[in-house]
């Protein structure tokens, strides 16, 4: 067993999930089964292998461009209105569950 009930509670806490008792039991079983399978990765020696976070770290630009210039296209001037105009206030709030038409309203913020 890689994961016990305490780990499930701890991770659920980090992820802002509550989970029912039934879901907790299921997570315990499924996470252990999946992590057991993932253990296979330890068969590989990766000491001298660089991690790869993004495909675009390696591809997608002309190879003659080197170093930081390679991704010059990915940044832009900081322009006042951005590439797309900001949403009008009412549109930005239209999907919010609760507002006073100026601000988003949330329950009291108290550290638990």
């Amino acid at each position: 067993m890689k994961v016990d009930e305490k780990d499930v509670s701890y991770v659920a806490d980090l992820a802002n999930l509550e989970l029912s008792d039934e879901e907790r039991a299921r997570m315990l079983r499924d996470l252990n089964s999946i992590l057991g399978y993932i253990e296979h990765l330890n068969e590989l020696d990766t000491d001298n292998v660089a991690p790869m976070a993004q495909v675009s770290d390696r591809y997608g630009v002309d190879e003659i461009l080197q170093g930081t210039d390679r991704f010059a296209y990915a940044s832009r001037e900081d322009i006042l209105n951005g590439l797309r105009k900001s949403l009008p206030h009412d549109e930005a709030l239209q999907n919010a569950p609760e507002t006073d038409e100026t601000f988003l309203i949330v329950p009291k913020v108290i550290e638990r």
């Binding site: 992820a15 993932i38 590989l44 292998v49 630009v61 999907n95």
Partner: protein, 481 residues
Amino acid sequence: MTTEAEISTLTIDGVRSAITNRQTTATALVHDFYTRIRREDPGIGAFLTLSEERAFAQAERIDKLADAGEPLPPLGGVPVGIKDVMVTRGVRTTAGSKILDNFIPPYDCTAVARMEAAGAVVLGKLNCDEFAMGSSTENSAYKPVRNPRDKSRVPGGSSGGSAAAVAANMAIATLGSDTGGSIRQPASFCGVVGLKPTYGRVSRNGLIAFASSLDHIGPFAKTVKEAALVLRTIAGRDPMDSTSADLSVPDYVAELDKPVKGLKVGVAKEYFGAGLDPEVQTSVEAAIQKLAALGCEVVPVSLPHTEYAIPTYYIVATAEASSNLARYDGVRYGFRARGARTLSDMYRKTRDGGFGIEVKRRIMLGTYALSAGYYDAYYLKAQKVRSLLTRDFDEAFRKVDVIATPTSPTPAFKLGEKVNDPLAMYLADIYTVTANLAGIPGISVPCGETHNKLPIGLQLFGRHFDEATLLRAAHAYEQAR
């Protein structure tokens, strides 16, 4: 009126010329497709939302062009559907989740906007696994999708609605997304063509994020040529996605008919191992022989890290998902649980009530893999193995131009068959996840049927940004079949 038989044989070019030659109008065609959807879709479940107002407005624009004798744009009047993970201004977008049940996006996904600018008519939004997490579309919070070829079976996933809509003639082409096989696997299950382009070829702006370094948008269609036409429409640099590549987009359709003689087709034994259904194997091997008969040279290649792709994928994808899905907190959009007394209580109750079990499972796994003390053992390890998997392809593509594999180890399975065994479900993606990790393009093309008439898919991989060669090989095979 378009007859049933006509609807089933319509192509993108056929629609354009029928409207141009005044044999029909875009508006009449939209009516016919909605009639068909109303009759057929209750038994399939491909559509979540119909965007009728928007569709008829677009059809009217196309008809005005035709009335004025103007040339129609490349997808002029073509009825299409969009997987419900791409945002559409003013049209409900759910990502298959209850947490976005009432979400009306204020802007359009770049790929959708490009489809409409090219004249396509968006009929509606297509069902999928919740946040594209699944391989059968049974994780949709709304309804499962049934495979039009056998309604007791799944259409594959997560873009099950996009594949089924094309297979059941409820749209001529559709857009899907592919994070681990979610375009190619359902294409193979439903007997249609599905293309995942190179990472960076198509902008992800407006695609609801699952795993940002693995997510891709791509087309479904009945033929390779039509998939090429849709790719040409949606591909190319978009300043709204900094990972979209600044490379010119070839005319994929014009390249299709170039000869394939002398093309080197790699075959890797790692894709023909234990767990491969014998009928799928026979069919895919016959397809490779067909490519050889067309003058391609079949070359054995080795992709030695393939067996590590699924564990690598399920760390990288869930880690990114746990971060991407943190935004669903009940504050700015979507569902909010009632009755919470504090902010953190509201977050938890909202996410508990809004997410389904598979989404929670992946958030848990990803959060665990990123948590203090486990980051190096899981996330960093997986990133390193991702490098090894990508190197495998780099090596292979020094020797060959494309690589041929089965798309999926099995044909479509029954609804409910794998729903309680997440690991068995994850293994349905065993031949597709590698292309997402390495970022190379992949396509699934129908290559036969099992004894009980279930479609089988041939998968071809290509070099980064070499969709032209990939499509050419797929087209040559399709024409010769």
